[in-house]
């Protein structure tokens, strides 16, 4: 993994305002609440992080902890039941929360684009793949129909769809799961966004095509200074391409550090548990290791440490207080009263 994480300035796509301090995207104390029949709860709770120019930030965490909703909050594409209740989202220094929807539409795709976790949530089943790609280009007023078509074909080929010119006229159901996922990526990369939010962009891909897709992302990062938030459960991928990693648990960030630090010296007990559960480290014929206990219900979280009920390191303080995210040594931030050292044992 070569490290392109210098604070190199963005040479990339034209930007209306200069990025502030080399951090194209800053999320500050973002809280997003979901309304339920009986009360509401925070699915994203006081989340802060920033993404530097040309940086790849991995966002990992347990299923249902609020990663997708964090991304949707940034994009302002939240479902009806959800609402941002506090915090700021600064894109190139501009607070997206204050923008009118019409302005936001101009920003989506161009300044910040998203690959959705489940392609069918955003691909319209009644239009061909081609129509949807061409529509996206044309919505941002770029070029003629012919040009848009050529660009779409080129983009589909970039993401490894063979015979793209023919397959442009297919409907989404005629694509395989992984092909739909790559269409999502093509849609997101069409306009060469400054920031890419990729929510599980490669889960449905085999490793050879995955490698190709990751190379494409790295290439855009290197050529255009694109920054990336990579949301994924595939820790192998995070290890290979992320510069920094943020770990979420129960709608909060519990640890952030450089990728090397997270994998070599995870300090939060949840991060440690996650790495311990990796199937590649498990012995065949034995049950796969898991983190004991249940993923908590977001509606009914303890006021103390949210990982407490499952934590092997718990001390009395953990039962009384809610830990805050504190800056630890170096570039690390940590939300824990009793962190311990941990060494990932590689191989056997």
């Amino acid at each position: 993994m070569e490290d392109g994480r210098t604070l190199q300035e963005q040479a990339g796509p034209p930007q209306r305002e200069p990025p502030v301090s080399g951090e194209p995207l800053v999320v500050e104390s973002l809280t997003t609440e979901i309304r339920r029949r009986r009360g509401s709860f925070a699915a994203v709770d006081n989340v802060s992080f920033s993404v530097r120019g040309s940086e790849i930030l991995g966002l990992v965490g347990e299923s249902g902890c609020g990663k997708t909703l964090t991304a949707l909050s940034i994009m302002r594409l939240l479902p009806e039941a959800a609402r941002i209740t506090s915090g700021r989202v600064l894109l190139g220094g501009r607070d997206l929360r204050g923008l009118r929807e019409a302005d936001m539409r101009g920003i989506r795709g161009k300044d910040v684009a998203m690959v959705f976790q489940e392609p069918m949530t955003s691909l319209d089943p009644s239009f061909t793949i081609g129509m949807q790609l061409i529509e996206t280009i044309r919505a941002h007023g770029a070029g003629t129909k012919r040009e848009a078509r050529d660009r779409s074909i080129e983009m589909l080929e970039n993401v490894g769809i063979p015979r793209a010119a023919t397959r442009l006229d297919d409907y989404p159901y005629q694509y395989s799961g992984g092909m739909r996922q790559r269409v999502m990526l093509a849609l997101a990369l069409l306009l060469e966004p400054a920031v890419l939010i990729a929510d599980e962009p490669t889960t449905a891909l085999d490793v050879t095509i995955q490698a190709q897709i990751l190379d494409l992302i790295l290439q855009l990062r290197d050529e255009h200074g694109m920054s990336v938030i990579l949301i994924t459960h595939d820790l192998g991928v995070v290890h290979e391409i992320a510069d920094r990693v943020a770990v979420m648990y129960a709608s909060e960030i519990v640890e952030t550090a450089t990728a090397g630090e997270i994998f070599r010296k995870p300090q939060h007990p949840y991060t440690q548990g996650l790495l311990r559960s990796l199937p590649e480290l498990a012995r065949r014929g034995t049950p796969l290791p898991v983190i004991e206990g249940r993923v908590p219900e977001l509606g009914a979280l303890p006021a103390s440490c949210r990982f407490g009920p499952r934590c092997p390191n718990r001390i009395t303080r953990c039962d009384d207080e809610h830990p805050t995210l504190e800056r630890a040594n170096g570039d690390r931030e940590l939300r824990c009263f009793n962190p311990t050292e941990f060494e990932l044992r590689l191989g056997h």
Partner: protein, 357 residues
């Protein structure tokens, strides 16, 4: 984790009296072509996409066969044909003596009480207008359970997939991707199937929840002898759960072998490239990835040749002249490979590192 043992009692005895050569599922010559271009007279197709081509597959009762392969190579299409959700172009599927593709209504209903599928796309496979309770209970309609029994069964299944019972009245859009995937697992388990086609069943789960699900599926297998066709891109998961692995490339099975044999001694050039690209946390420094050159080929009107020719690093002339048949590799009768010019990798360069049992 306790799942009602009615699974055991409703286990049809017919499933143990399996096919002719001891396998529960026998696939022979299965093919599927989709019309790829319609330009002819009256919109007749002028080109065909050969999604699955002449596939043979055997799965023994109680076995887990993993199916891996390139994205778009036809895994889901194969699964759909086995479940008879789409018609096959050619071939047969034999399930415990039942000719699945020609089964009549009654037989098909019985088949569908025994064989279930976990769909690859959890969002698309859950009806947005149905709440979780209705989704999971749908398959129970034929089992004559009363309302209270159905409810408790749904709750129990939700518990198994680590969701709380009060999500039952929520709709699919109210869940995270991984939660939807677990609902889809619960639905497939509802009718106590003996055979499950799991198409990427845990791809949207974090490793801990994923492990919980896999342990549970394994547990079911241990106790009730379930059989799995497990489609996955995650090689470390495959290595852990599979008994045998079949590798597919562009509509064809190119290699099958017992799991340790395949990971330890991959023979087909595609398999070798595949295993060398697995991203891992346990490797420091750059990987020795075999990068596949050349464009991803298309399955539209493929030539009569090895379908890997365009990208293969071991291609020879005869590869372009004929389709390599899937044959026993030198030395063993368990390891089959479809290649004219395969060669084992030098020791130490094979596959992912990690678990050797």
């Amino acid at each position: 984790m306790e799942i009602e043992s009615s699974a055991a009692s409703t286990q049809p005895s017919s499933s143990s009296g399996s096919g002719t050569n001891g396998s529960l599922l026998q696939v022979r010559g299965l093919s599927k072509s989709f019309p790829a271009e319609r330009g002819g007279l009256l919109g007749r197709p002028t080109a065909w996409l050969s999604a699955v081509d002449d596939v043979d597959l055997d799965i023994a009762a109680g076995e887990t066969l993993a199916l891996v392969g390139e994205s778009g190579c036809g895994k889901s299409t194969l699964a759909r044909m086995i479940m008879r959700l789409i018609p096959a172009t050619a071939g047969t599927v034999d399930f415990a003596g039942l000719d699945v593709l020609n089964a009549d209504r009654q037989e098909l209903l019985r088949y569908r009480q025994q064989a279930q599928m976990i769909f690859q796309d959890p969002y698309g496979s859950l009806d947005p207008r149905m709440n979780v309770d209705a989704i999971i209970a749908e398959g129970l309609a034929r089992q004559g359970l009363n309302k209270a029994k159905r409810r408790s069964r749904v709750r129990q299944l939700l518990d198994v997939v680590e969701l709380s019972a009060d999500v039952a009245d929520r709709y699919p859009h109210e869940f995270s991707g991984g939660q939807r995937q677990r609902i889809s697992i619960a639905r497939a388990l509802a009718v106590n199937p003996t055979f499950i086609v799991a198409d990427e069943p845990v791809s949207a789960l974090d490793v801990s929840v994923q492990s919980t699900m896999l342990n549970f599926l394994h547990d079911l297998q241990d106790r009730f002898g379930l059989t799995y066709l497990f489609i996955s891109h995650d090689m470390s998961v495959v290595r852990h759960v599979a008994d045998r692995v079949a590798v597919m490339y562009l509509g064809k099975i190119v290699e099958t072998a017992p799991v340790e044999e395949l990971f330890g001694n991959p023979l087909h050039p595609y398999t070798q490239a595949l295993l060398s690209s697995v991203p891992t946390v346990s490797r420091e420094g750059p990987s020795e990835r075999i990068v596949l050159e050349g464009d991803v080929p298309s399955a539209i009107d493929p030539p009569e040749a090895c379908r890997f020719t365009g990208r293969c690093f071991r291609v020879i002339d005869s590869c372009r002249a004929a389709v390599p048949p899937l044959e026993d590799s030198a030395g063993t009768s368990h390891h089959h490979v479809a290649c004219f010019n395969y060669e084992a990798l030098p020791r130490g360069r094979s596959g992912t590192q990690g678990n050797h049992s």
